[in-house]
Symmetry: C2
Subunit: 507 residues, 2 copies
């Protein structure tokens, strides 16, 4: 059959359209699963001069975000393989490049930025181009990530193959906040490690790096702008946390006067104006660097008992007619006002809601962590919520399984649409007591990916039984390994070594 | 004081000369410790245009090994830090570049290649250059690695600092074979992972990657030249292993006729000519790609009992008048002859020596693994030896501590110089039953580094008590983390998570 014959054959090919309910059973290895996917049965080959084309785009890419995204993805697709020339397959089977059309000229990365994209890989065209249409460059970056998961190095053909073409994919996230917490207070995390965490987040379409910078143990803060800029270029918001008034003992190493006393080093001294001046100064610095709509003010695990044992604090409480819990509320609300004055909305851990929810500023997002069932109370009270219940979504809990990460539903028992809308998303947390540059990757992955699908994929596309997605998640874990990310096997608890010899896809 | 005044001051500065015996106590953080080190008390700063100068070198660097090595090292030194302009410190404190003089025009990487180097960082010169003199480019690469360990990012100055200058270092390895085994048969190791292992080996001056490619579980062999070429450019020999006649069941998936029978799948069929034809074909392919002087032919853990239960093999044995152990010897020696015919010298696991040592070809290197005390017997028999006793130097033995790795002496009880010379080195082994891309880095490091110093540093410079080097090894481990290598904490067994919050340097 001559070239024309094959060409016509391709045009007439029967295109398998996968209904969403079928996505788990199908031979489809995209993680997280998009809103809708249809595909065919043909294999195309990537040109060795695979290129980015942007004609018709309203986005100028002056900052190079799209170009960088494209070259990163191309690097990931090619891996370290020795790739031969694709054109020997005949140009009618070769994808020449990807044509990206972005409708918005702005690349401001703000909460709720439009992340929608359409991706298609046709089997015709002379030459063939993949097509992306997105409202913003951040949607386009997601499209490139998805495209990278359609590509495989062919060990026999020695070129990059795109099987199951033609592809038509529409996609957008279920939740706008899809977070991962890292903790640089308990252990230093070198910059290359943080950058790799950020890159790996983009593979799973997570989009908020919650940076727990400061805690009891250390105050490694210099308001560094470099990681934030790096993250933003990849579509990742950086949520900076200043956890007050507890978890803050380390502040007093530099400023001992904000310790109530030598024996009462936290919570910070509520009676000292300097405490709030310092918070104000830090948040002022934050606001110059961390441009996300939110700042995290902590507020968790505050044991106020030593305030009452410290004479000058106790006197101050008496003068104001405040008991311990009133003073805790006073501190949190005052810190909220400072954050608001710097243009931030606030995220606070759930204890603030549990203790004085009705007093919290309406711009507060309550960050659940203690257990399940909190979100429904928060949204019933009209506040927004982020879900991180520790029994399911704490990555440092090694006994929390990927199945538990997958099946943890943020909207459980929340039925009213207006209340559902108040759950802005969820976050998996990598508290750093036992985590440093030596073990963070396998603590995070693959379990964070299980949560990432829960946060990205429409509810009706999610597997009701996590066993339906085991093979696809294993595939994603192997993909992470191929990209140099040390994702652990699925079998067993978190951060586990492989149990026995065998294929990555079965571990 | 004007510029001239400081300049003279620097010239007259008292230079601390560290005697070798003092190296463990001194504030010296080089790993592995060089042959001799002297240094001063001044801090210099790296120019932002730090450059490589090669005038006077006899090495043309046509293949770019030195240029690549220089740019890799510069990247490592700079890390991801945001570095400011050094010249503001006054050019008399700024190191403008490194001047590398290589005496040999050849960059052939063969066993025993000269790895000697001299490195100096003077405090005078206008401008100041660091100096390297080496016989070969591979010695120069070691010098660059050592130089990188003299450099620190100054968090206050925001430039790369070289404290304790001036430096004068002379260095050469104690053993020419300093190996690390990886096992891609039990688990697939993606290329980026292997490349990172190779890069991290160069940090510790290990120089042989022993690649256990094929085993019972899989035969993932395509004679790929890419990793070997990558390794060679970094001064790393690749020792390919074809383990016969045991550990070879997987061969029969493609070639069932070399299984003695369905129920006797290994050892390979000693009675079948095709077995040896296949070995010959593979070694012929090996010889085109793996240019190291040695090939590893395995020979370990051979259970020959099923040969006697298999009628045609049993008949063949009878015809030849061979018992099981005679047939094992026949197989090994025949494989040796094939390897010799392809220009290789041979490495065999110690069972071959233990069973018929006097019959081994004199070009055999015996690879110890079962336990201590073997090397002395091997060298007494006039053969060469590599030490890998599993109780101390198997990295997959997680209960083997870094202290044990450090103190394992390859020349224990070998006193005659001519016998000592037959111990060509040692190797640490990362058998892959429980190791894949998710945990290999922390299984290897930092324990492999402890062995690396044993294999590099002159005996009289080694700590008699490993506790003397704890701080320096912890420093090296943190350096690995900063370079993005997931080296585990020192405290506890192998591949352990950090026990508690705290500084990397204390874990």
């Amino acid at each position: 059959m001559g070239r024309r014959g094959i060409f016509l054959g391709l045009l007439l090919v029967h295109i398998l359209v996968i209904s969403v309910a079928d996505t788990q059973k199908e031979n489809l290895y995209i993680w997280p699963m998009p809103v809708s996917v249809s595909h065919g049965q043909h294999t195309l080959y990537l040109s060795n001069e695979f290129e980015l084309k942007t004609d018709g785009s309203k986005y100028s890419d002056a900052s190079g975000i799209l170009r960088d995204g494209f070259s990163s993805i191309l690097k990931i697709i090619k891996g370290d393989h020795v790739i031969e020339d694709a054109p020997r397959f005949g140009s009618y089977l070769v994808i020449k490049g990807i044509h990206v059309v972005i409708l918005s000229p702005s690349d401001e990365l703000q909460h709720g930025v439009n992340e929608t994209y359409r991706l298609s890989v046709p089997v015709d065209g002379n030459p063939i181009y993949a097509h992306v249409e997105a409202q913003t460059v951040y949607g386009a970056l997601h499209a490139l990530q998805t495209f990278s998961q359609l590509c495989y190095f062919g060990f026999e053909t020695r070129v990059i193959e795109v099987p199951q073409a033609p592809w038509t994919i529409f996609d957008q996230p279920r939740f706008s906040y899809r977070g991962l917490l890292i903790d640089t207070s308990r252990h230093f995390l070198p910059l290359p490690v943080i950058k790799k965490v950020i890159d790996s987040m983009t593979y799973a379409k997570l989009n908020v790096l919650h940076w727990h910078i400061v805690d009891t143990q250390s105050f490694p803060l210099e308001i560094p702008s470099y990681p934030r800029l790096y993250a933003q270029r990849r579509g990742i918001h950086v949520l900076a946390e200043l956890d007050v008034p507890g978890h803050a003992e380390s502040w007093g190493i530099g400023y001992p006067s904000i310790w109530p006393s030598e024996n009462c080093r936290q919570p910070l001294d509520v009676s000292n104006d300097f405490t709030f001046k310092l918070i104000d100064a830090i948040l002022s610095d934050f606001s110059k660097v961390f441009k996300y709509r939110f700042v995290h003010l902590g507020g968790d695990e505050v044991d106020t008992s030593c305030w009452t044992f410290t004479p000058h604090v106790s006197d101050w409480l008496k003068k104001r007619g405040l008991n311990e819990s009133g003073a805790y509320q006073y501190f949190v609300l005052k810190a909220q006002q400072i954050a608001l004055s710097h243009g931030y909305e606030i995220i606070n851990w759930e204890e603030t809601f549990n203790n004085f929810g009705s007093k919290l500023n309406p711009k507060t997002v309550v960050h659940n962590w203690l257990g399940g069932g909190v979100a429904q109370k928060v949204v019933a009270a009209g506040l927004r919520c982020i879900v991180s219940n520790q029994d399911k979504w704490y990555l440092d809990h090694l006994d929390a399984t990927w199945e538990g990460f997958y099946s943890n539903e943020p909207l459980a028992n929340i039925t009213k649409p207006e209340e559902q809308a108040l759950v802005i998303g969820g976050e998996v947390c990598t508290w750093g007591e036992h985590i440093d540059g030596s073990d963070i990757e396998q603590t995070i992955w693959p379990r964070a990916a299980a949560a990432a699908e829960r946060l990205w994929t429409p509810y009706h596309n999610l597997a009701k039984n996590s066993s339906e997605v085991t093979a696809r998640l294993a595939n994603f874990r192997c993909l992470l390994n191929q990209r140099g990310v040390a994702a652990a096997p699925l079998a067993g608890p978190g951060r586990v070594a492989p149990l026995e010899p065998g294929s990555c896809y079965k571990q």
